[in-house]
Symmetry: C2
Subunit: 335 residues, 2 copies
């Protein structure tokens, strides 16, 4: 039996440093009713992603911050429960940015029908959704890899990193991943086909990179920033391409970390560093989805999900993910 209330997770406080569960409020409210032109969606899966940490700050970034008392932002996939919009029918699976809540109203402008033939519906917010497309376009379009390139990916077992590393392997690159546990390192090498995995918590990253990349590094796909990135940048080849996708090591620091200035290495190596948001490639999302769905069907591209049941567990799970406790794409099974 479905509960007859809407469960929502609201932002309660703006965290300084790592968020705690007190920074979230879990509240119940009546299930909203769609008006003319709107639909009611029941969330089935919620995606938890590092970018959400930025939205908890009172700081204009590329998107508005979540306000105190507002529902936390997030991508989700669910089914239409009631429709007063001609384009949607009860039972349609839709994906959108409806946030950390069990029921949501949409006027159809912020949701998209999901093709259930491409895979289990939660892939629409995982490997075939924002994180997967981030890896696909951020690697292929920003890094412009060619076969034979030595590619390093940080947070390599995460939602984005696992995609980047496998596409690199598919196209004939040598691929090295960094991750935060031996279990993750084992997974990327033995399941995903990375050439080498480095546990940045227990190994000397610089030394391990020297061994793993005897001819230097051509491409770096960065999800983490900080010391791992410093070690990679010290080893880039002439003409290296660096895509700056995330900086999770920095998101929970109350003050920016101090580090030696190193822009000069971009000159000596004649390298390019580009930050990007996946929305840049919005008009090509279908291309990415179809290609990745094909690789998945061929068994070339695998994906690992870290599923936690129950929306009430979203805050705890999100905090764990920021600490690297997830193993694969973090998902909340909402209903």
């Amino acid at each position: 039996m479905d509960r007859e209330v809407n469960l929502k997770v609201l932002l309660a406080n703006r965290p300084v440093g790592y968020p705690t569960e007190d920074d979230f409020d879990i509240v119940e409210s009546p299930i909203p009713m769609p008006e003319e032109g709107e639909v009611l969606i029941k969330t089935e899966w919620l995606s938890l992603d590092p970018y959400m940490r930025g939205r908890m700050n009172d700081q204009q970034s590329y998107a508005d911050p979540v306000q105190i008392g507002e529902v936390m932002v997030g991508g989700s996939v669910g089914r239409i429960q009631q429709s007063r919009a001609p384009a949607y029918h009860v039972g349609d699976v839709v994906e959108g940015r409806t946030g950390w809540q069990m029921y949501a109203i949409s006027d159809g402008s912020d949701i998209r029908k999901v093709d259930e033939d491409l895979g289990p519906i939660q892939t629409s917010i995982g490997i075939l959704g924002m994180p997967g497309l981030t890896g696909y376009f951020g690697f292929l379009d920003v890094c412009k890899p060619v076969p034979g390139d030595t590619v390093v990916v940080s947070a390599a077992s995460g939602a984005v990193g696992q995609v980047v590393g496998q596409i690199a392997r598919i196209m004939g690159c040598r691929v090295i991943g960094t991750a935060g546990s031996d279990e993750k390192v084992d997974y990327i090498v033995n399941e995903l086909g990375f050439n080498v995995g480095i546990n940045y918590k227990t190994e000397n990253v610089g030394k391990a990179l020297d061994e793993a990349c005897p001819v230097g590094i051509d491409v770096y796909f960065d999800n983490v920033g900080g010391l791992v990135t410093d070690a990679v940048l010290d080893r880039i080849n002439t003409g290296a391409r660096i895509s700056v996708c995330g900086q999770i090591s920095q998101y929970n620091l109350p003050e920016p970390e101090m580090a030696p200035r190193n822009m000069g290495l971009l000159i000596r190596s004649q390298s390019k560093m580009e930050g990007f948001l996946v929305t840049k490639y919005q008009n090509r999302f279908e291309e990415g989805r179809q290609r990745m769905a094909y690789w998945i069907r061929q068994g070339e591209l695998k994906y690992l999900e870290d599923v936690v049941e129950g929306l009430q567990n979203a805050p705890r799970t999100f905090i764990g993910m920021l600490n690297g406790e997830n193993f694969g794409k973090t998902l909340i099974k909402v209903s």
Copy 2:
């Protein structure tokens, strides 16, 4: 009367921090004799450029370091005095990397005949040589400016910066330069046509940029690094393009300067930062030379030279340039 000896400036010590005159040896030696296939060049002008500081370190960079006791590297222009190579005749003006010395031998592979119709011969190592071409390609090719862009150039009155700013003006950009004295600021605004000049030594650069760039910064051509660059990067627009040409604020620090990590801003602004060396564009140098020579003839492109007479003054002048004491392109009139 020419002196009947060769005067050379050798690297005597590897400096830690700013070089001093003790780090150079000025020596006399016999004028060398060309062998079959070689020419003897008498240097007329020597270019002094910030990159030479890097060559004084015992560190492999994009080029080999100068060894202790070797002639300092540098671009120069001179005349053929003796030729035993069929392609060159006595009196030909040639430009090459013959170093800090009055006479040099070349087998012709490292020199190029200078077209004296394009301008005074020292322009072949200035605005129509390496520094000018660095500005031309680094701005047009790396920054990909479009009319209406707000462009910031650091070290704006220097050999490279003056070219960048004027090309930006020619193509309809709004252009702001930073420089280290009121005289330089006055020059770039009133002589070169920059929209705004900022004296980074006396003004609050952030505040001055806020005023000068009310709609943010689209392009940054960086010659300096450090705090000026931090202030610019804090104000870049979505899709900004940053070309990293030099980091002169960092070249004389015994240890890298510590600074807050800021790679995250590349993500939010979806911006690109690229380091480059002008040699990348070697096969297009003639294009750059011809275009700039045309603009010079039209009065659209001016250039300012800071000329010091006498090779024996090169060390002192070089040290002064590293301290920002030059005003325009630094040249030594050798003979």
